[in-house]
């Protein structure tokens, strides 16, 4: 299947993901995800490439440390795509607020589908439009999708 991407789908390279809610170990070059802010801060300081938040909630201190360490903030679309009705609407609102806040603070942001199956996947055009729907500009959206590619290849 070709969805407008030429590189990421054929990369064949995985990035480790560490759950910050379980333990705060070293995770050099990995993606830290979860909602435990103190563990996430530890992981960012120990070299995490990117962070992804459960429920689109971020603490001010975590964001500041992520910006200091040039850590990318990932905004996943799976919770928006897979939910329905009021839940989807609430997730859109939260994601939009997070994006606005992080952009204002100067964080590096990337948009990802986090698809767990073929049905959850999005084409490049769809990712761009979903990012724009959250409030990103055209340029921010396109650059934001490119960043995850760099994350895969520059390791």
């Amino acid at each position: 299947m070709r969805l407008g991407f030429s590189k990421v789908l054929s990369a064949g390279k995985d990035i480790g993901m560490h759950d910050a809610d379980k333990k705060a170990g070293d995770c050099d070059g990995c993606i830290a995800y979860g909602s435990n802010a103190s563990n996430m801060i530890h992981m960012v300081r120990s070299g995490a490439n990117a962070i992804m938040l459960n429920d689109f909630k971020i603490e001010k201190k975590l964001l500041e440390i992520a910006i200091e360490n040039e850590c990318i903030l990932l905004i996943p679309f799976n919770s928006i795509i897979s939910s329905y009705g009021f839940e989807r609407s609430r997730n859109l609102f939260k994601a939009s607020k997070l994006l606005t806040y992080a952009t204002k603070k100067g964080a590096k942001i990337s948009f990802i589908s986090m698809a767990s199956s073929k049905l959850g996947m999005c084409s490049y055009m769809q990712l761009v439009e979903l990012a724009k729907m959250l409030g990103a500009s055209e340029k921010e959206a396109r650059e934001g999708i490119g960043k995850i590619t760099k994350l895969v290849f520059d390791r």
Binding site: M1, L3, I80, K118, L119, C122, M125, E129, M133
Partner: protein
């Protein structure tokens, strides 16, 4: 009266294709309407123009609403109770350009194999 401008989207779908294309179209329109809401749906003048073969179709939208249509197609995951996914691959002002893109894409895929 100013003629309405349109935009055409090439969409790949990943679902059980019903035998009846009219039924497929009707079900898709119903889902699009649930994403758009009744008040915005009529502005889109959406219409499935063609099924050029494979798992593809070309859908028309008004110029002002085509971005929302791309978003709506990304959010549709069920069609008539079955799992479904729609991937917008390209947009253009003409159907011809989309067909040329599709031919090129299919030729590239064949030569890669």
């Amino acid at each position: 009266m100013i003629r309405e401008k349109h935009r055409y989207l090439l969409v790949e779908y990943n679902s059980e294709m019903p035998q009846d294309k009219a039924a497929f179209s009707k079900a898709l329109h119903r889902e699009i309407m649930s994403c758009f809401g009744q008040l915005h749906y009529f502005k889109g003048s959406f219409r499935i123009m063609e099924f050029p073969g494979g798992n593809f179709f070309i859908i028309r939208s008004s110029l002002n609403e085509y971005e929302n249509l791309i978003r709506a197609l990304a959010l549709i995951k069920k069609l008539e109770g079955n799992d479904a996914a729609f991937y917008t691959l390209r947009s253009s002002g003409t159907i011809k350009a989309l067909k040329q893109y599709l031919d090129k894409m299919q030729n590239d895929a064949e030569s890669a194999e």
